[in-house]
């Protein structure tokens, strides 16, 4: 122990004696360990410990997928729920139905995300409330729910200022009183509900709720999917119009559902940051080796007076570990700041909201272990090489200056080449990700999203219960918005939110009775939709307000529809219908014969309707009056700042009806950023930051090696210059030794970039195989590396030969 303290004291003294070395080494480690800790915080919070729920690994989403392998979550009615609970692979199931309600009874109505859940929710989740209790079966005896709610933590903080005496108080939702019985803990954010109320589907077989299943321990997903497929087929066998009919059951984990490919992206980013850490460690290794060579005399003296090899290694490793602990300490501080920035950059809907991204105990332990491991890793090679100095040679030479062994020079070359290759890999990845992100943001959407915002307005529950009344109410809302100063046009857009997906439905074309398996997006819209989004009308006409009011059987189609189904015919005058328009859900009000034939009266330009990464789907646009949900979705074009106009619209709507609950009021630009290219921006930014840092570290490493080499060869340079060597000769002499390792590093980096092309393409969105990307990355790297070599080389070439000859 005393020996260790002695080594520690000496290590501190050594670092204080060489502040330049210490700062460079600590900075390299701070960047590497700090970045790794920050990314690990994200990976840990999102991938490893995202959910606070008990047995979260057994909680799954059941998807009903079409042949394109995409679909929706399993919904069931009351009697299907009972059958689901009895499935042999299922441990438990809870049901959920979400709606926007209005918190009334206060000065201003507030939109509330109210979730109704089957009474077993809290038993299923296994997370005790922060205050009070969760609801149980006794709160919904025989399916009749008591008026109780559990508040979410955020809602409790916002509406009740975190008052711990909230249990027993009442809140009024849509003029109905509920007693608060508990508050969820901060990480319990299931469904992003503001309030959790008990409920159950009624006897109506068309009242469907979302279902969430927990599998029994040991049940494989394939077995569960097979069993549930039989169940779903049984549910839908008698109703071909049931939109669950013909779908394939797929079981996915919670994270697969929420993150999708983003989980792979996070893992790849973690790999990239480890590469950055390795570059940082290589830098420190280079510096230690160079410094160690200069300390060989000291090491020889120590060995001559009794220090064993182990003892010398321990002393040198103590210095390395001290460096890495200091670097880790500062790195953790960097990570604290970095985690905040990373969290802000993460696209909003790309990770579970239960995840709390922060530097917690586990992350700190990881950082501590990482610092010790990196200290040993970057220190062991120099320590091993330096711990057996040629004692008699060094003692007899009576000089403290030594040039190092061939082995140490080879180690330098390997480290530099390794740094350069990893740097090029990161730069190629950054180039690929940036290119993919730019392609995404410049992709033609087919519509103009600027100055457009969307919002949802929920009609008060229990009002406008017939079709005409609801249509009138919807139209009143739309016209009220249209009349707000700053609004150019407003449109209802029930089943399509561009550029994202819409309502996929089977369609039939009267002139093509043999066509089967035809599907299209059914977009229920106002006539103003195309003006609001600036989608061009290519042929025919748009239905007008009067035709909407009588739910005229008219439709427009997009170019993709024409190309796919009617390439040789004039689409105007053709007829199309969809059996899926005849919906029998209790909250939806349908016009007469909604599944009857629709006459195609116009063709509009293609606009993205299936996300940014998929081709445009065929689409049919019909009057929104065909099916009227209780919550209306609108798109509005403003002629000024949309954020300002949104506030004006909300005030006007409140004046129209104080109980209108307005929600999801965001610009299309916001939606594009969060759900469109937010992930692409995140990846491109991080990769670019890593690449820049890697370049800086590699340049520092090269500069150190060349500087050290120049110092060792000062006398040689002096002799050459005294014999008449020009400066260019000296420059060439110094740079030529590093040129080879630079070239080797670039070559290996290119090979790595090509070899890892598939991984980078899959998780970063872009391919580094692009010759322009690789060439640019290599060019920048070589330029920076050349500058890093030339600076010390120029110093050597400009030294006074007399000074150089006297140098010792």
């Amino acid at each position: 122990m005393n020996g260790l303290l002695q080594d520690l004291r000496y290590a501190v003294r050594q670092l204080r004696k060489s502040p330049g070395f210490a700062i460079t080494a600590v900075l390299s480690l701070t960047l590497g360990i700090g970045a790794t800790t920050a990314i690990f915080s994200v990976v840990y919070s999102i991938l490893l410990d995202p959910y606070p729920y008990r047995d979260a690994d057994r909680m799954v989403h059941v998807e009903l997928r079409d042949k394109t392998d995409r679909g929706f979550l399993l919904i069931v009615n009351g009697s299907e729920y009972d059958q689901l609970r009895r499935a042999s692979s299922v441990d438990d199931v809870f049901l959920q139905r979400q709606e926007t309600q209005t918190l009334t009874g206060g000065q201003f109505p507030i939109s509330v995300n109210a979730g109704q859940y089957s009474p077993n929710l809290f038993a299923y989740m296994g997370v005790p409330p922060l205050i009070g209790r969760g609801f149980t079966a006794t709160d919904a005896p025989s399916g009749k729910s008591s008026p109780v709610v559990v508040l979410s933590y955020l809602f409790w903080q916002k509406q009740f200022a975190g008052n711990r005496n909230v249990v027993g108080q009442t809140i009024e939702l849509n003029h109905k009183l509920y007693t608060v019985i508990g508050v969820t803990p901060p990480r319990f954010t299931w469904g992003d509900s503001d309030v959790y109320a008990p409920g159950m589907p009624g006897a109506d077989p068309h009242e469907y709720w979302n279902s969430f299943i927990k599998l029994k321990a040991g049940v494989k997903h394939t077995a569960a999917a097979a069993e549930l497929q039989l169940l779903v087929d049984r549910f839908t066998k008698d109703d071909l119009k049931d939109f669950r009919h013909g779908r394939r059951v797929a079981i996915v984990t919670l994270n697969e559902e929420v993150l999708g490919r983003f989980s792979g992206t996070l893992v790849m980013l973690f790999g990239a940051v480890i590469a950055l850490l390795v570059i940082g460690c290589a830098n420190v290794s280079i510096l230690l080796l160079a410094r160690g060579i200069a300390r060989q005399h000291e090491l020889a003296v120590r060995a001559s007076i009794g220090a064993s090899r182990t003892r010398l290694i321990r002393q040198l490793l103590t210095e390395s570990v001290l460096l890495s602990l200091v670097g880790a300490g500062l790195g953790v501080l960097v990570a604290y700041r970095g985690v905040g920035t990373l969290s802000a950059m993460l696209p909003l809907y790309s990770f579970p909201h239960e995840a709390t991204i922060r530097v917690n105990g586990t992350v700190l332990a990881f950082s501590a272990a990482l610092s010790v491991v990196t200290g040993i890793l970057f220190g062991i090679s120099p320590a091993w090489q330096l711990s057996r100095p040629p004692i008699s040679e060094l003692i007899q030479a009576n000089s403290a200056k030594h040039s190092g062994s061939a082995r140490s020079r080879n180690t330098h070359r390997l480290l530099i080449a390794g740094q350069v290759s990893l740097t090029l890999l990161l730069m190629a990845g950054a180039g690929a990700a940036t290119k993919a992100f730019l392609a995404l943001t410049h992709m033609p959407l087919g519509f103009d999203p600027d100055h457009v915002f969307g919002l949802r307005a929920a009609l008060p529950k229990g009002t406008n219960t017939n079709w005409q009344a609801r249509l009138n109410a919807n139209e009143a809302i739309r016209r009220t918005i249209q009349d707000v100063p700053g609004v150019t046009s407003a449109s209802v857009s029930t089943t399509w939110f561009p550029p994202f997906g819409g309502f996929d439905a089977k369609v039939e074309i009267r002139s093509k009775p043999t066509l089967t398996g035809t599907e299209a997006i059914l977009a229920l819209v106002s006539p103003k939709e195309f003006e609001t989004l600036r989608i061009p009308l290519l042929a025919g006409r748009i239905f007008d307000d009067a035709e909407v009011n009588r739910a005229a059987h008219l439709a427009l189609v997009n170019e993709a529809f024409v190309k796919q189904f009617l390439p040789e015919e004039n689409p105007i005058g053709q007829s199309v219908r969809s059996p899926m328009l005849k919906v029998e859900l209790p909250d939806l009000l349908s016009a007469q014969a909604p599944d009857d034939w629709l006459e195609i009266i116009g063709v509009v330009g293609d606009a993205r309707d299936d996300g940014l990464e998929h081709p445009i789907k065929p689409a049919v646009f019909l009057p929104h009056s065909f099916v009227l949900p209780p919550e209306i979705a609108l798109l509005v074009r403003a002629n000024g700042n949309p954020e300002t106009v949104i506030q004006s619209v909300k005030r006007r709507l409140t004046a129209l009806d104080p109980e209108l609950a307005v929600s999801q009021d965001h610009t299309l630009a916001w939606w594009l950023e969060t759900r469109g290219w937010g992930q692409g921006r995140f990846i491109a930014t991080l990769f670019s930051v890593f690449a820049f840092l890697a370049l800086a570290l590699a340049a520092a490493g090269l500069y150190s090696v060349v500087s050290f080499s120049v110092t060792q060869r000062t006398q040689e340079v002096g002799i050459r210059m005294a014999l008449g060597a020009p400066r260019t000769n000296i420059l060439r002499l110094v740079i030529s030794s590093t040129a080879l390792m630079l070239a080797a590093g670039v070559a290996v980096g290119l090979v790595l970039s090509l070899a890892l092309d598939r991984i980078i393409r899959d998780w970063a969105g872009g391919s580094p195989r692009d010759p322009a990307t690789l060439f640019l990355a290599a060019l920048i790297l070589v330029l920076v590396a050349t500058i890093a070599c030339v600076v010390p080389a120029w110093r050597a070439a400009t030294v006074d030969p007399v000074v150089a000859l006297r140098y010792e």
Binding site: Y10, R13, E298, S392, N398
Partner: protein
């Protein structure tokens, strides 16, 4: 105490080999004060390096107190040297980043002696060498003579059986040199076997036996007057 039998040392140079020690046969008794002399390149320092076990590229037999150093592995030799041998260098070879006290303490720390015990030993040596006032100074703050004094103190603190000195006064002026040589005499009287390499006849006079070397051969030994260069070459 020490027996060398047919000890040889060479270096590869270009196409051939350069011999620095040729068939050295030598016996050193406990308590002797031996001086090794000869022209530059004679192999004096090489012989000292072998005796100090700092060099392990030699061939032949090396017996130290009946222990066969020539059969030991590197770690074994290092341990043998650590316990029994102290070395004083011409250039002092003190560590610049350690104080006087720390430099003297260093060999003891490598022997895993407890700290409080070491402190006592170091204090004794500082006192004996009258450098207590300098204990917290760094080598760069000392004169040449003082540095060599510290070098000697470091070499003897662990009471080695054998003290080797390579031109110990080479960088000192005469007064400082005399102080050092008087110290060696005193240590020898106390029982330490000393082998010194020197060019100085004055220094050689402190010893009880003189060895002459030339071109790697041992050509003269005052303890063996019958040893002649030709016989040394033949008898090897």
């Amino acid at each position: 105490m020490i027996q060398l039998k047919k000890v040889e040392r060479s270096y590869k140079t270009g196409a051939g080999q350069t011999w620095v020690l040729r068939r050295i046969n030598l016996e050193i008794q406990q308590g002797e004060f031996i001086t090794v002399m000869g022209p530059s390149g004679a192999g004096k320092s090489s012989l000292l390096n072998v005796l100090a076990l700092l060099d392990d590229q030699w061939s032949g037999e090396y017996w130290f107190r009946d222990q066969a150093a020539h059969t030991m592995k590197r770690a074994g030799r290092a341990d043998l040297a650590k316990r029994n041998i102290g070395v004083v260098f011409q250039s002092y070879h003190l560590l610049d980043d350690l104080t006087v006290r720390e430099n003297i303490d260093l060999p003891l720390s490598y022997k895993d002696i407890p700290r409080n015990q070491r402190q006592g030993l170091v204090a004794n040596v500082l006192d004996r060498f009258q450098i207590v006032a300098k204990k917290d100074l760094y080598p760069s703050q000392l004169s040449g003579g003082q540095q060599q004094l510290v070098g000697v103190a470091r070499a003897v603190i662990h009471k080695p059986a054998l003290l080797l000195a390579d031109e110990p006064t080479g960088n000192l002026h005469s007064t400082q040199a005399r102080e050092i040589m008087e110290l060696f005499r005193e240590l020898n009287r106390e029982g330490t076997t000393i082998v010194q390499v020197t060019h100085s006849e004055t220094n050689a006079a402190y010893g009880s036996r003189t060895l002459q070397m030339q071109d790697g051969w041992l050509i003269g030994d005052t303890a063996n007057p019958s040893l002649e260069p030709s016989k040394a070459a033949v008898n090897g």
